[in-house]
Symmetry: C2
Subunit: 341 residues, 2 copies
DNA sequence: CTGTTAGCGCCTTCAA
DNA sequence: TTGAAGGCGCTAACAG
């Protein structure tokens, strides 16, 4: 089945390729005689013509492709984000190239290079860490870059995020309301804006009540389950008295904490209340259901795609960043706790 | 920042573009004098040259891009598959374009067209339904197609799957061993190979023991939570006596069943044992932890990517299909059940 | 080992 | 409204 090109279609319709090209381009159909359009369309149909987006991309300087960079495809929280992006692209004839950094700077660098080489029209990055700022800035010179979920404060790179500091405060507030005073937090990497924000908001709110947060002298190297468990184990080993409540910087880490607690014969929420972050799908079905701060992944994805589309059409656009409000979702991992006595 | 092209690099290095091209292509570095390679590399470095994969793709007729088509990005089971694909592509300089069909034929059609237009080197389809066979066959004439998870028996399209029929039998076996006799199943769409296989294997194994499976006169329109709930509700409404065990055709549907049970004041595993399918991430953490048949998503993704790569390099390759063995993962949603009396 | 030549398939001037 | 011409950036033949 030899590839049929525009030339074949044009020949069959008895017109020049340039006319065929115009006839098949919906944005230019009006420049061509209606009858000609019909003839060309028919010819294309008969030959089973399938336009070549690569050639078109080369000529037009636009690929209708967008990159989406995530840190960890294994984090179930990322699915809604990707879905939000994909669903919002679909209507515009765009498609997304997906890439994973595993939170490694070197991979981020490679991935951005690769996407730039592919001439994507824009990139959405959900995996930014402070150390990536330089390469992201460089990437920005070649294509619009939109940060999502994690941003780079002061970098001027537009971002769709959510107010992590406020989210941290909400978590603290919730624990205070339920009578906790001996409270710990398990921190995500400090070079990631979201975790910095969560830590700061949480700490601050407790300090307002004169409470000093219990923290181990380490942070998760990556925001994953294993690291949540490790930190929780460190915490349990380092303090003679376990905290009555723990704030894990994301849901995955919260599950890790749960495992560590179980390992010490402690249970949640009876002995220790646990609160996570993201409202990852399924957290409502777990044992116990996890109280969490909802980060609306689908919406973030949708808005990031929107912003990217705007930036593509208008390279001068400033790219207004946006921050969505967090919402606390109370579930049994904290509601089930009762002060003893 | 005007784009720097190969011509600029060549000029700076004092060579012809074709020489520069060869010098920068690792596969052809040997055809060029070492000193020249060094000079070209240096020039490229100095100018910040970034090759144009679009132009290269047009010329070479190869885009180093692969499509991956999924039914539902919201199904957490799909993440490991995508991850397996992505991770295995990464080393070869390939990238994946991701698209969602939502299990709609029309979307499948559009997506395949779009991927063909983009001249992807191959497509991995995890969303095949019987009705899609024609368009998939057509797609096959333009690029290698690999099915994953769901296949199209008799179509001759190579597939990486797993033995769903055996999986269904394992589920049945497990329930029998635990003393169940009044057993139901909630069926996924019949036009999807995996669900057909699961249903058949399950039914068959029970029939061998002279047990007729309880089924409602309907199947899930899509394999999602809501449909699992709907079917379970139908089941509870239609039979005076509830079954003691239910096999849901995937984990999402199992959760839907759990909700329906709870709605009737029945609990799992005390009143009804529930078994799901896929071993979706997090199913070990749910309340109750769900007994399930493990479908190794990451491996399936990895092998599908492998097969796709083989097919790309050797268009004549027959594309041997592969079927991985299922494993039953027993958890409390069935282990916790005890026959009354 | 390197340069020359000729496109890949399409789209966009420019002219008619 | 259509055709002619040129080139997007790169690379594969073919000489030399």
């Amino acid at each position: 089945m030899p590839k049929v090109t525009l030339k074949d279609v044009a020949a069959r319709a008895g017109v020049h390729t340039s006319t065929a090209s115009r006839a098949l381009d919906p944005a230019k159909g009006s420049m061509v005689h209606e009858a000609t359009v019909a003839r060309v369309r028919a010819a294309a149909e008969e030959l089973g013509y399938q336009g070549d987006a690569v050639a078109s991309g080369l000529r037009r300087g636009r690929t209708n492709t967008l990159g989406i960079v995530v840190a960890d495809l294994g984090n179930p929280f990322i699915a809604p984000v990707v879905r939000g992006v994909e669903n919002h692209l679909d209507g515009r004839g765009l498609m997304a190239l997906i890439a994973e950094t595993r939170d490694e700077h070197e991979r981020m660098n490679r991935v951005l290079r690769n996407l730039a080489a592919r001439r994507v029209d824009a990139v959405i990055v959900t995996a930014a860490r402070s150390g990536d700022e330089r390469v992201l800035r460089k990437a920005q010179q070649q294509m619009p870059v939109v940060l999502a979920v994690r941003h780079l404060p002061g970098s001027g790179i537009p971002a769709i995020t959510h107010d992590d500091e406020r989210g941290g405060r909400l978590a603290a507030e919730h624990l205070l309301e339920h009578g906790h005073r001996r409270i710990a937090q398990l921190c995500g990497p400090r070079d990631i804006s979201s975790f910095r924000g969560r830590a700061a908001g949480f700490r601050e709110r407790l300090r307002e009540e004169g409470i000093e947060v219990i923290e181990v002298d380490d942070t998760a190297r990556r925001p994953i389950l294993l690291e949540g468990r490790r930190l929780m184990e460190l915490l349990l080993a380092g303090w003679s008295e376990a905290p009555t409540a723990v704030f894990a910087h994301n849901d995955l880490m919260a599950f890790g904490a749960l495992q560590a607690l179980a390992g010490q014969g402690l249970s949640c929420p009876q002995h220790v209340a646990v609160i996570g972050y993201n409202d990852t799908p399924m957290t409502g079905f777990t044992d116990p259901p996890i109280t969490t701060v909802r980060l609306p992944g689908y919406e973030v994805g949708r808005m990031a795609a929107d912003l990217a589309a705007t930036l593509i059409d208008d390279r001068e656009h400033q790219g207004n960043s946006l921050s969505l409000p967090p919402v606390l979702v109370p579930r049994n991992s904290t509601l089930g706790w009762r002060a003893e006595g």
